[in-house]
């Protein structure tokens, strides 16, 4: 599905990513964990074209997408749910979702079918209730769902999520993670970036650990969960507190 080879990128003279190689297979949840500043968000931005790579290859479903404009990359089937959700605050929930389908109805003959919001409403019933409300008035959790729903409207081959749990209460985080799991069960492919490493590894098939712009460890999620180093560095929160 997604293949990245020897990717390097950065902002100006600042090199953030060095020699990154990873891949995501069809129907997998792959998670990328690492401390803040490791370059996770930069990697996602480079994949979806918001940032130009300095060198390396990125291909999606066998097609080279490196150095293309973000619009093209979205059209090629790669959607990003950005950090901080980035909903269209002053527009209705419905309009937000319809805009997500943009890449489909631009080409499609039957435009009406592309505007079918039912599948998203099934996944997120709360959005149906809030259909006419302005997106900016939703709670953080609802906005996260809206951002995910909007990305799904494009029916992407690969859906990337940048820290979907940031700033959300534990209960809502659980809810979000169960939805990501559900997405996989429906056949979607997910690349997930998370601070909350344990929760991410629990639902993921495979994981990569990033540090200082490099991938230092990779493997099946279960192995990473059991890995002593990873545990100490990223899963410690749960180790020293088991009541919660």
């Amino acid at each position: 599905m997604l293949k990245i080879k020897n990717l390097a990128a950065g902002y100006g003279s600042l090199k953030v990513l060095r020699n990154i190689s990873l891949h995501v297979n069809q129907g997998e949840i792959v998670t990328l964990i690492g401390a803040n500043g490791a370059g996770k968000t930069t990697l996602l931005h480079t994949i979806c074209g918001l940032l130009r790579a300095n060198s390396g290859e990125i291909s999606l479903q066998g097609r080279e997408i490196n150095r293309q404009s973000p619009e093209r990359i979205v059209a090629a089937g790669c959607s990003l749910v950005p950090e901080g959700r980035q909903v269209f605050a002053a527009m209705s929930v419905r309009d937000n979702l319809l805009l997500g389908a943009f890449v489909r109805y631009r080409r499609a003959k039957n435009k009406r079918r592309c505007m079918d919001l039912k599948p998203v409403y099934q996944l997120f019933p709360v959005l149906k209730e809030r259909e006419a409300q302005m997106a900016g008035t939703l709670s953080g959790g609802e906005q996260q769902m809206l951002a995910m729903g909007r990305a799904l409207m494009a029916q992407p081959a690969l859906i990337m999520m940048d820290e979907p749990s940031t700033g959300l209460a534990p209960m809502i985080v659980k809810n979000i993670f169960s939805i990501i799991r559900q997405l996989k069960d429906e056949g979607n492919t997910v690349l997930l970036i998370e601070q909350n490493a344990r929760a991410a590894l629990k639902i993921a098939d495979r994981g990569y650990v990033m540090e200082n712009g490099k991938i230092i460890v990779q493997g099946p999620a279960a192995d990473l969960l059991a890995n002593q180093d990873v545990q100490r560095a990223y899963l410690g929160r749960d180790v020293d507190n088991n009541q919660v």
Binding site: E71, F102, Y105, T137
Partner: protein, 296 residues
Amino acid sequence: MSTELFFQYFSAGITYGFLYAIVAIGFNIIYNATGIINFAQGEFVMLGGMTAISLYPFMPLPLAIIAAVIITTIIGALVEMIFIRWLDNPSVLRMIIITIGLSILIREAALFIWGESVRSLPYFNGSSISSINIMGANVSPQVLWVIGVCAVMVTALSLFFKLTTLGREMRACAANRLAATLCGINTRNRITLSFMLSAAIGAAAGCVMSPITYSQYDMGPGLAIKGFTVAILGGLGNSMAAVAAGLLLGLVESFSIVILPQSYQEIIATSILLLVLFIRPHGLFGNKEAAALKEF
């Protein structure tokens, strides 16, 4: 005040009111797509009128007007493509200064081409003295042209933004550019389109108004400040309200002549602007909650 005089002021107020509304809508279109206030908005009106006047000797009036609108639209597109398109996330201050600089440059170019003389297009029907009797009052047919053309443009635009998918995409670009890009929308093209749209309606207004208000190279800034007053009065981004606000300002200004000499007329519009900014910056009809969700 005699009924006749009253009606004269009234129709002048309505006519200018529509002009201000069109300029305000021009502001709104670009603001909605980019979050930028285009200080060169008044110059589009001037360019439309002046171009049509220059073309008129060579072709029939309707053709001259259409050509003028097209030329101004192209200029609008060029302005966006040359000066704005490639800027990476510019600050509000930077955009204010750039569009002010552009308005100066367009104005100086117009001065170079057309000189300082005041010109006008001929009346579309009849002449400056012909009139139509409506309910006992005499109205110049040109006033009806202004009202008709402006009303059609306003309705068409509002339907475009509300109902069409292209309109929704343009609103999305305004709401959150990053998110719009991630939805696969080519935000840059939408923004060029917004400049073209607002240049086109400005130019069209500049043409229909020309017989009444005349055209001159430096008419832009005055129109821009009034258009902005109207845009704020109606609530920035709200085009239907801009029409109501435009008519309000046009009438107030027109009737103010009863109390104050003409030379103070511009002070009235500007004072209204300041008052609205101080007291109700989200506009007379604006929604405070919605305004809070936008970034200025």
